[in-house]
């Protein structure tokens, strides 16, 4: 009779042990899942970042192209203006020199506006 009882208890104990194992496995799964969350998140983040980086690269290479073209456009414009200025100058130079000389010899001696004639 005692032998039977201890055998029964034994079986129950073993069942408990198995049960505990099952639960333990589930717990281990949970721990692993948390780690996985971290590593998978990191992977996704890295992908996202790489994507953003390539986007940015295309964006900035487009931009630098436009800077080049605008620079040469501005340079061309400047050259045109410079040529204009020079031709305008050579056209009008002599007239202005004449004007300067005329004014240099233009003398109009006048009395000072506050001058009061001496009382004779």
């Amino acid at each position: 009779m005692a032998a039977q009882q201890s055998q029964g208890i034994q079986t129950l104990l073993e069942a408990e042990k198995e049960a505990a194992k099952v639960v333990q496995q589930a717990r281990a799964y949970r721990v692993q899942k948390l780690k996985d969350a971290r590593s998978e998140a990191e992977k996704e983040i890295a992908e996202y970042k790489a994507q953003k980086e390539t986007e940015f690269q295309t964006f900035s290479s487009e931009r630098s192209g436009s800077t080049q073209t605008s620079q040469s456009a501005v340079d061309q414009d400047t050259e045109v203006k410079l040529a204009q200025v020079t031709s305008s100058y050579t056209q009008r130079k002599n007239d202005v020199v004449k004007k300067l000389l005329e004014r240099a010899v233009l003398v109009e001696p006048t009395l000072h506006p506050n001058f009061k004639a001496k009382i004779q």
């Binding site: 202005v96 240099a104 001696p109 001496k118």
Partner: protein
């Protein structure tokens, strides 16, 4: 009163208990797993969201910096261009003044007009000094011309002002390289009037700049107020 169980019934009960234990364990394990999956999803989403918005902010900032840099570059280009233009104009201006100065030296060659000019210059100086005594400085080469011009100027001064004609002494101390004209000194060497052609030209160069600009290069289109 229940009778004691027989072997079969014991075995049955045992099985029931074992199964029950197993069931409980499986359910508990399942709960744990389900919860783990949920937490996994939440945690992962949270991490991803956190980092991706940080990355977005980073790249936004980079973009803005790039735009600012672009604007700066454009502004620098425009500025350089304007400076180039201004330098060119300044160069032309200097060329102009050089040409004017070269011509200036030739003025004294027309003797008649030069004599008239000298008289005017001396008179202008006398009217500014308003002194009974004055010294006129001239170039060595102009000494005689200036002496006669000074006499005429003194008379005109007298008729204009009603004062007596001032005493004028002429000294040939003006610089040899000067283009011509006269300087007047009065009030015991305390007042000097520079009416030399060089000085007059210099003054003109400065004061006529707006007019010269318009004459040479046209009016300024960007100017808003012209009074």
């Amino acid at each position: 009163m229940a009778r004691p169980m027989n072997d079969d019934e014991v075995a049955n009960e045992m099985n029931k208990m074992v199964t029950f234990i197993k069931q409980e364990a499986l359910e508990k394990a399942r709960e744990i797993r389900v919860k783990a999956d949920e937490e996994f999803a939440i945690e992962k989403a949270k991490l991803v969201k956190q980092e991706t918005s940080a990355i977005d902010a980073q790249y936004d900032k980079k973009r803005k910096q790039a735009e600012v840099a672009l604007k700066i570059a454009q502004s620098t280009q425009t500025n350089k261009s304007r400076l180039k233009l201004l330098q060119a104009r300044e160069g032309h201006l200097q060329d102009l003044f050089g040409a004017a100065r070269t011509e200036l030296v030739k003025l004294p060659q027309d003797k008649e007009r030069y004599a008239e000019l000298l008289e005017g210059l001396v008179l202008q100086g006398l009217l500014t000094l308003m002194e009974p005594r004055a010294t006129v400085l001239s170039r060595e080469a102009d000494l005689q011309l200036v002496q006669s011009a000074a006499t005429r100027a003194a008379e005109k001064y007298a008729s204009l002002t009603g004062h007596a004609a001032p005493e004028i002494s002429v000294e040939a101390t003006l610089d040899k390289d000067s283009a011509g004209g006269v300087k007047l000194v009065g009030a015991a060497n305390r007042i000097t009037i520079d009416n030399s052609l060089d000085e007059r030209m210099r003054l003109l160069e400065d004061r006529m700049l707006p007019e010269i600009r318009t004459d040479l290069f046209g009016a300024n289109e960007n100017r808003r107020f012209n009074n």
